[in-house]
Symmetry: C2
């Protein structure tokens, strides 16, 4: 399991390449929820999402240890941009397998960072096959979006900064959960740097796998996938499941309608652009108001990459 020292080292390593994102508060949203909410704005992060943290941490170590001269991954979006960004910074070549259905704005962004996009069918099988091909043919190293300790240590630094940058102790800290990289990193940061903070997660009803995986103790697939939160479609891995079972207090489901409402509130009231996956967490606080009212609650806004031509409003 990722240690406190590994998170601290990751933070020192990535610092020159990432933003120390601001923590925002908002009176209207506090009044609405009864909670005192601290928003860690990873939508302002490099590449528009927290994924830059893990990506940079992994790629810097690949270069330092001379593990390969190119890298590859499959990603529906933000992880792809993160690796492309990190690879360019250190002069590695990046091959990114992306489902052809991924938002155009995300494909363009990956290409904009100089990476090579290889499109595939939008199934997990096709994505993994694409990655294996690149590994065989190009000698590239796989950087998995979340089933990777370096990635988890990198993602953990968002919560570490949040703890450092506010004067009070959070009673709760909530992140979205897809593959579990951000959630497991956050829960480890809480354990090491703010042990009285309880960590929770939000998951879309239309991609409900983590909640059942935690209950059953084995990685589950969702019964069905239909959600606006396109960053949260993946299932956990054994690695993230183990951390989440140990350190996360509870996972809450929210509907797409609740996600859209929360997203609209954030855009209208905070005047910031967040993607649906980010809004999942505020949706949790609104739906379970009774649990969070009167509490100091941290929220990690995971990213801000949206296709403006396809808004749900």
């Amino acid at each position: 399991m990722v240690t406190q020292e590994e998170i601290e080292q990751a933070h020192d390593r990535i610092r020159p390449y990432i933003h120390r994102t601001p923590v925002l508060t908002n009176q209207t949203l506090n009044s609405l929820t009864g909670a005192e909410i601290y928003f860690k704005c990873e939508n302002f992060q490099k590449v528009g999402a927290f994924k830059a943290r893990g990506g940079v941490n992994a790629v810097l170590q690949i270069v330092q240890n001379k593990e390969a001269e190119s890298l590859t991954t499959h990603s529906s979006g933000n992880h792809a941009q993160a690796l492309a960004y990190a690879a360019r910074k250190v002069g590695l070549h990046a091959y990114i397998i992306m489902p052809r259905t991924a938002p155009q704005v995300k494909k363009d962004a990956v290409r904009g960072y100089g990476a090579q996009v290889i499109e595939c069918e939008p199934t997990l099988e096709a994505r993994e096959e694409g990655v294996q091909k690149i590994i065989r043919n190009k000698g590239a190293i796989l950087v998995h979006p979340f089933d990777n300790d370096r990635i988890i240590a990198g993602q953990a630094t968002a919560a570490k900064e949040l703890f450092e940058d506010i004067d009070i102790t959070l009673e709760a800290l909530i992140t979205p959960v897809g593959g579990g990289g951000l959630l497991s990193g956050t829960s480890l940061s809480a354990r090491y740097f703010s042990p009285t903070t309880q960590v929770f997660a939000g998951e879309p009803e239309g991609a409900a796998d983590a909640i059942y995986s935690v209950k059953s103790g084995t990685v589950q697939k969702p019964e069905f996938i239909r959600t606006i939160a396109d960053g949260l479609l993946t299932t956990l891995s054994e690695r993230t499941l183990a951390i989440i079972r140990k350190h996360v207090a509870e996972i809450f489901l929210v509907s797409d309608e609740e996600i859209k409402q929360a997203m609209k509130l954030i855009w209208e009231r905070m005047k910031i652009v967040v993607e649906p996956s980010s809004a999942v967490v505020l949706a949790v606080v609104i739906r379970h108001k009774e649990l969070f009212t009167g509490k100091r609650v941290g929220i990690i806004l995971s990213g801000g990459n949206v296709d403006l031509s396809k808004l749900p409003f």
Copy 2:
């Protein structure tokens, strides 16, 4: 003309009621324009726009001098919210005359601050008639959106903060221009606090009156009004025209297409919500790249109040 001391006093007076908004920079937009841009983010201001500054400054003085127990104005949006907000803070009653075509989100916001909204036809005549009626019947005092020294002194504090909060000296500072409250306040702040900074303005082609007013020396009406930048429809007053003629280097026109493109860039790249009127200024820097490239340029993002159900993307 508003003095340096009046701007300094305004700043001290309003400080407890407004946000000291952040100054953001963005590498992508710097690369795109060749300029080094400092965005003063008044979209994060109370009520979502710089208008809170002038509104609070005016209302606090009305209360201190016991000039009236209620106030009124006509406004298509942000000034209305600003006065409603300020009136509530000090316990005055506010009657706001709004064109019935104003965005619903803005009417709702004004009512949300406890003010009484009185709808009228969307003509300047109907708006002014509505205001006169309230003054006669209710004894309310008029707080004009820009033809008012207290308002101008308040709006001037945005530029004052920008000068204080960055380490370098700006070579150019650009605001949008509608009635000219922000522009004249900004140009006076530059004169007093950063005299080597040249002040410019951006105006929509579809509400082009300030540019001709400055050229002719008298307040002109636009030839036609058709623009997405709904905060910039008003003409100058003699008061703002005089200041602008003296202290503003040049006014540039931009098309609605350019405004939309600039707005999309700000949303996508900076991950912040700005209204079309704010985007006018970046559109100027992009259209006149040759003038601003290599320069340190301040931009005042005037506000972030948009109707998310009516986006131009």
